[in-house]
Amino acid sequence: MYKILEKEDYSDDTYMQVIEAPAVARAAKAGQFVIVRLHEEGERIPLTIADFDRDKGTVTIVVQAVGKTTRELQTYGVGDSIANLIGPLGVPSEIENFGTVICAGGGVGVAPVFPIARELKAAGNKVISIVAARTKSLILWEDRMREVSDEVIVTTDDGSYGRKCLVTEPLKELCEEGGVDLVYAIGPAIMMKFCCKTTEPFGVKTVVSLNSIMVDGTGMCGACRVAVDGETKFVCVDGPEFDGHAVDFDLLMSRQRQYLEQEKIAYDYYLECRGDKACLT
């Protein structure tokens, strides 16, 4: 069992939890993720390690509630425990002094970008971060990003905070100005796809972190497979980070929809019963 030590709600749909998991914290590196299973009947879902503290033995996750499991996890408070937490999984980010790096995070994607930006900064890079969301209430970790960036640009789709534009606009401007050596773009698949489309004409390498459907997260099932440069890769063991210009995003997005029908059934079932065991049987 893994105990929740801290919890903070950022909006109706987004929240942060600090979970006790010493073995995972000890080995965690930027860019890696964990697999979480809430209880005996639970599904295994992947969540990025948004932060970790080796001394305290904790990992931090930032989650957007989009369905059954992420909604149920939202109801877990300080002192509650989740049944399983497995990790750190995936290949850590490659960190070196590249020069100038743009770290773009969309929605909850900002959280996974944070440890990467921190490492890149520590390695001597100039870090320009773009913190993007649909609307002001969904902007998160701006303060943390400021601590590890030389410059932070905030954008919202509706203009309720920061610049009124999509993440791709400042990204394009920065590429036009030149001097960008690397881009990290993490967020919804569609956001990563368009970030890659934006940077491609400038030939700026763009690393993305793919969020395919997973089961084990250890290379054992192939549920997470994607096509990179026409070759099949397993996101959980070959990734989650890939060269975005080689990723087939349409395939990724199509595969993400694979269980839509069942996800709806599970979600409705959950909302109806709200964890009431008697109702479930």
Binding site: A23, A83, G87
Partner: protein, 496 residues
Amino acid sequence: MSDVSKNNSGGGKELSKKERMAIPRTPIPEQDPHERAKNFDEVALGYSDEQAITEATRCLQCKKPKCVGGCPVGIDIPAFIDAIAHGDPAGAIAKLKEKTSFPAVCGRVCPQEEQCEQVCIVGKKHEPVAIGRLERYAADWEAKQGKAGKPEIAPSKGKRVGVVGSGPAGLTCAGELAKMGYEVVIYEALHKPGGVLTYGIPEFRLPKEIVFRECEYVESLGVEIKTDYVIGKTMTIDDMLANGHDAVFIANGAGLPVFMNIPGENLNGVFSANEFLTRANLMKAFKFPEYDTPIKVGKKVAVIGGGNVAMDAARTALRLGADVHMIYRRSREEMPARDEEIHHAEEEGIQFHLLNNPVQIIGDNDGWVEEIECIQMELGEPDESGRRRPVPVEGSEYRIPVDVVIMAIGTRSNPVLTQATPDLELNKWGNIVADPETLATSMEGVFAGGDIVTGAATVILAMGAGKTGARSIDRYLRGLPLKPEAEAETAEQASA
């Protein structure tokens, strides 16, 4: 003694060889095929005491029993069968446990028809003695008695061993070492122990209750099973050796699914058998939405392959309501699955498309599987495996409309652990190189066995490897040469 002995019908010395041979092989009661195609309960129901004794009486108690040589771990088969014939299942189980740790598992899943039963003397003229069913009978009898007898545990040796993986190889090795007085911790990547026995082989063939009972038994010997531990990620082999493990046994199996590399393989609705079976067995998706994990079953499913894995995937899909078609590129004789499973699959209504090979999968506009295109094959010259190589018949392509395709063409070693352990020597397939006799690897104090060394094999071979690994680790930790002959030689030299 149990009351079984009272109904001892034959067994004694009174029957002649001829009379014994005249007894027909005792069929095992099974669930009706139509019934069982709709449930996940075990197919075979097991022998009653009377049936077991009758079957045991068929054994000729050969002076030079061929069956023992056919058993990968050399179980004293006539001895355990004789005990059953004399109404002494306790004696039978004791005999079995000298060589196999988990007879309830082996009795159910070993390919007996290629091992002990294939060479049984009775089988020369008649049907062989049902050795597997008798093994299962003895093990089930023990389970019914409640608590399994706890073996003697040697006093603590003050040394600690780490075992990677809780499949049959890891569990066996851990159990043996615990009995010898070592402190043993198993590190398992998944959230439940058992390896393939838990995530791969379905409930209707091997009830999970049996697997968890075996895991609990190993724990009762003092072994700690730490789940959620991915060695190579959560901790490396080097970390283990540096942090209080005096030796390590690697038994992480061969769990990486292989795909065919044909067009359309990443369409929605194409799954590896590992994914399909893991969802169904480990995650209990057959109880969705009571359990959260979904499974896509489809109306018409193509399963590609002809081994146990393919059979298990096909029969699981069938039970979830699909019309199932198996596509295998060789003929039925070459199917690597256990005979019994092929037979059961046929009975349950699975359709076989033999000598057929998929060439591409065709999808609809939304990225979902719509059809699978196959080509017919014919058998050509024998290949390295001695089986006749299937060759495509030109122009024989045709399509079958399906909405789910399950790939069950094999598994390879998973590189998560080995990539994080650069000092470990691997062969060209990525399997760990281990001394066949001692299972020592290229790393000091590190031993490996089971599927990770042999490639996908069998439960009994994995258990055998677990025993060998335990013996070697014990010798290593006591500072003895790993090979007993080497010790004898040194002793000879010393006395000379």
